[in-house]
């Protein structure tokens, strides 16, 4: 089953995706496609593939011209050097690329940057700094919630988004009753975090950190 196979891009896909990113970073007029040549669009090939977007990323506003093919993930990593957000599968199957868009968690690999004009993006770099970690980052250190760390930034952003969904009372697959308020127990956390795979299998400690943080978070609210 496809979604059981995370983080295993073929060499061909790797070369392909890096070349797209290369285009994103520079020239935008390569490889005019036959598909485009056949369309009835006016011949504005050079302009057609590049578009200007303005996004606020971790409270900083960026306006840039980008190849329309650039995913939000490639924009962050390849154009803005915000490499905290990771590319695992590039197909929505692993959650390594999870970021917050206007406070909502999404997979940055399955979204085009041009779809996010005027959006506010928050990545792991916007959670805390090495000297001043976000409380959840602290919790991950304390609970030893990673081994290689590749999935960690996705886990962190996903958890922040997940907690705000739970605070809004959004139900999940394991919520026993759709009408009464949600209790965020361990089963709920596991189900709500299932979109983030961890190849190192640090799941128990990831859950511990999130559970702990959610409890403290509740107390401070």
């Amino acid at each position: 089953m496809r979604s059981d196979q995370p983080a295993n891009p073929s060499r061909r896909d790797f070369v392909k995706s890096t070349s797209t990113a290369g285009i994103a970073a520079g020239v935008s007029t390569q490889f005019p496609s036959t598909a485009l040549a056949k369309s009835s669009l006016p011949d504005v090939r050079e302009k057609a593939f590049t578009q200007q977007v303005t996004l606020t990323i971790n409270s900083r506003k960026h306006t840039l011209g980008i190849d329309t093919r650039t995913t939000l993930l490639d924009l962050l990593r390849e154009k803005l050097a915000l490499t905290g957000t990771k590319k695992g599968c590039d197909h929505g199957q692993c959650g390594a690329c999870t970021v917050l868009v206007n406070g909502t968690r999404i997979n940055a690999c399955l979204s085009l940057a041009v779809m996010h004009d005027s959006d506010e993006i928050r990545t792991v770099e916007g959670l805390g700094t090495p000297d001043n970690l976000h409380a959840l980052q602290d919790g991950f250190v304390e609970h030893d919630s990673y081994q290689c760390g590749y999935c960690t930034s996705g886990q962190l952003c996903s958890a922040i988004g997940m907690l705000s969904e739970a605070r809004k009372g959004m139900p999940s697959h394991v919520t026993p009753d759709l009408i009464i308020p949600v209790t965020l127990n361990r089963d709920e956390i596991k189900e709500r975090m299932s979109g983030n795979l961890c190849r190192c299998g640090a799941y128990q400690n990831i859950c511990n950190a999130i559970e702990d943080y959610a409890e403290r978070d509740r107390e401070t609210v």
Binding site: A35, M170, P171
Partner: protein
Amino acid sequence: MRPFNFITAESPQHALSLVAENKNAKFIAGGTNLLDLMKLEIEAPPLLVDISKTGLDKIEKREDGRIAIGTSVTNSALAADMNIRRGYPVLSRALLAGASGQLRNKATTGGNLLQRTRCPYFYDTAQACNKRLPGSGCSAKGGFSRLLAVIDVSDACIASFPSDMAVALRVLDAEIELCSLTGTRIIPIRDFYHGATTQPHIETVIRRDELITRIILPRPIGGSHFYEKVRDRASYAFALVSAAMVFLPDGSARVALGGVAPKPWRVESAEQLLTTDIDEYVRIAFSGASSTHENQFKIPLAKQILTTLINEHKEAMA
């Protein structure tokens, strides 16, 4: 990915005229299926028309008690909506059983209805697939078919339809509003998907120049609602078999099955057997089935799911 032009439509009319003017253009909603396919160059539209800012993002309760769901409503917003949770819990449950939290935040109602199969041969451009490349054949037969359909299949294709949401919409008798520049038509979901055909690349009745604008739910039908999904892992996986089942206040029951056919599978004519003779229901619902060695488990599994749900319901009523 092949290069494409990208335009954000300001209104449904704007989106429709852009697609009407540009022959191979496609609408993009959440992008969670289309971009996946574009990366693999299974889709290569020269123009993407973004419909997410066309104002079709509301869930409206109409005076007659029906609910109109705008196509851009996300799967998570729909699942969490109080009118849906109260009046159509089977729909909330089906949505929550699909994909992941992140994906549901992007995936939309219309996009979910039109998502493509997860057949591995559809995704692998080195393999024959009549759905992807008409006339090329079907590698799935005799191949990896654990996920694929057992009923309403043809020689041309044994792909299954992967949506959970659509299975619940089928049991609820939802309708789909399609708009084009020349008018609007309303299609009951039972007539929306084609099922087995010699042209498996054409999956629904929607025309290229049409936009799904709304999905309309009839007035709440009451009763007890269940969505049971069996998959290879407990979360974030497509269904092997799923069932959207409603036990109505008058003692009758209805069910639609997912994961078994190229569309949500519902056999209304046999539904009176659901509460009296489940063996006979399964026999009729799956008559003409054609499974492979790898997916023949699906029919007994469907029966097992239905039996469990019926017993659960009985216990809850006792």
